[in-house]
Symmetry: C2
Subunit: 347 residues, 2 copies
Amino acid sequence: MGLDELSKRYLPAIEEELHRIVDPAFAPETWELHRMMAYHLGWEGKNAGREAQGKRIRPLLVLLCAGAVPPPIPAPAEEMAWKKALPAAASVELLHNFSLIHDDIQDNSPLRRGRPTVWMEWGIPQAINAGDTMFSLAQLAMLDLGQTVDRATALLANRWLNQTCLALTGGQYLDLSYESQPVISLDAYWPMISGKTAALLSTCARLGALIAGAGEELQEKFKDFGYYLGLAFQAQDDLLGIWGASEQLGKSITSDLVSGKKSLPVLYGLEQKGAFARRWLAGPIPSDEVEDVALLLENEGARQYTLDIVNRYTHKSLTDLDQALPSPNENGKALVELAAMLLNRQS
Amino acid sequence: MGLDELSKRYLPAIEEELHRIVDPAFAPETWELHRMMAYHLGWEGKNAGREAQGKRIRPLLVLLCAGAVPPPIPAPAEEMAWKKALPAAASVELLHNFSLIHDDIQDNSPLRRGRPTVWMEWGIPQAINAGDTMFSLAQLAMLDLGQTVDRATALLANRWLNQTCLALTGGQYLDLSYESQPVISLDAYWPMISGKTAALLSTCARLGALIAGAGEELQEKFKDFGYYLGLAFQAQDDLLGIWGASEQLGKSITSDLVSGKKSLPVLYGLEQKGAFARRWLAGPIPSDEVEDVALLLENEGARQYTLDIVNRYTHKSLTDLDQALPSPNENGKALVELAAMLLNRQS
């Protein structure tokens, strides 16, 4: 089975697990809160469906990693590691989506995956509360590991979840604080995306390994694999934000150049102190100037620089995976496919 | 030792435990996030100190309940139940304060405990993120129970924490949704404050009992004690919001009548469909009309009705406590003192 076939097994199981956590958590008088959850998760409302659900990359990563670790003792089918990892998979997806609900408020984004954001539909106060609700559901999901693995492992997984939350909010703090600074250095980029993107992907891989019974050394390899995958993923995202087929992103803003996002190519361009930097500092870039400014940035080497970063961290990530799994099973091979898919995507 | 002496033992220990959780969680580049935590917790910034910290009622309740349960086996001093309960005490205080940070944004409140709110100081996006950060810290604190009690108990306590979060966000959803409705029924009040106030106080009492090794039946009694204490506490709060020495509350709005809050006396008044209801429905009440409208409401019986509710639930709460602790030790007696203090407060 390749990634496609494994996804066909895992994705419906992830969706079922999400429903198992989310649906019974609401009383009739607060059912509207359930609607907010179901809307944001792509289950309900206008244009609900696969597109609106996102790719479920993070829970998929948890399950593939759990399935990739050689079992310490041969286990019967009903005890397969990926099944034990389902609460963790649901948890990381809920955590990711909670952070998106709050991000959309913080960034004033009207659209997410091509649909109005929760705050656009229900207002800011209710959207803050909806995010908090999903945060609690992420916690309850992870605590359910107490039913599938031993308690020490369940407690450790919950600790990792919350240390990852701290990394996320730390990264978000930096991102928000950079907005008010006209120039930040290239060095300032890494702690931000390390917290905002790499920490959670790293935790996904590490959780899969932990739950499958991997020893600490192997867990660390998975952690590094996820971490560098996350850095590469974010750099690729930044590349697509300027040179991608951006209308496919389902975001409201066509180019990171228009929104003024301090992404990796932009920070590289600013450090060159050339024509791009002068134009950037002169004020907002309107849509009709985007093509010219993107070309300016490309000519100063920012596109190649970012591509090199993507390739370097992809290589690092796959090397870690290779060391973790010298003779990969089909889950291990699917992880390589997943990494390739993420890093060659056009949207 | 009475409540005063016990508070002198417990309050510094709570503060120390909060520092133990909060301080090491931040890297140098995100130290500003620590400043937001320390500011909101009353440790730093202008007018920091006891007043700015709030009363720490919830952690005190956890420790007193833990100390009130007769130990299953006589324990040496270093294993006193209240010490084991410290992570839970810190956790509930962090949870409470996270919810306040977000509440203040949702309610557009400029002041909290007499000081500018976090969103007034750092802006809404950073304040949402600061609340999320404190939420994670509350989780990490509770997970530390894994070091002071057995793992099954630690996992259960964490589950209760998050079920309580769901109750809180459910209550907050109702509160926010009531704002846009001109009239709501008296019946709609109880599910709201049950979630917003009583759920957490109930969990505090129950956690104390759990950690001290109480059996399920005794835990339930503590849970009920905290729950009815919470209902009485909120009804008393509503009473003070209209007839209290409101400038002592440290809130920006002098009267719930001006802010239009649908508190218990107001909902009672609306159901009378008399002069108060007509005035309320005619539009916002300016400060200079507050005294007249409060008198109108009092004459229609709302003050007495609310007082009766406070007394009824106080009685229920203390009866539950009495059944839980037929021969109370000094912690048990201090719980009665605490209840009396909360319900006779003037601010």
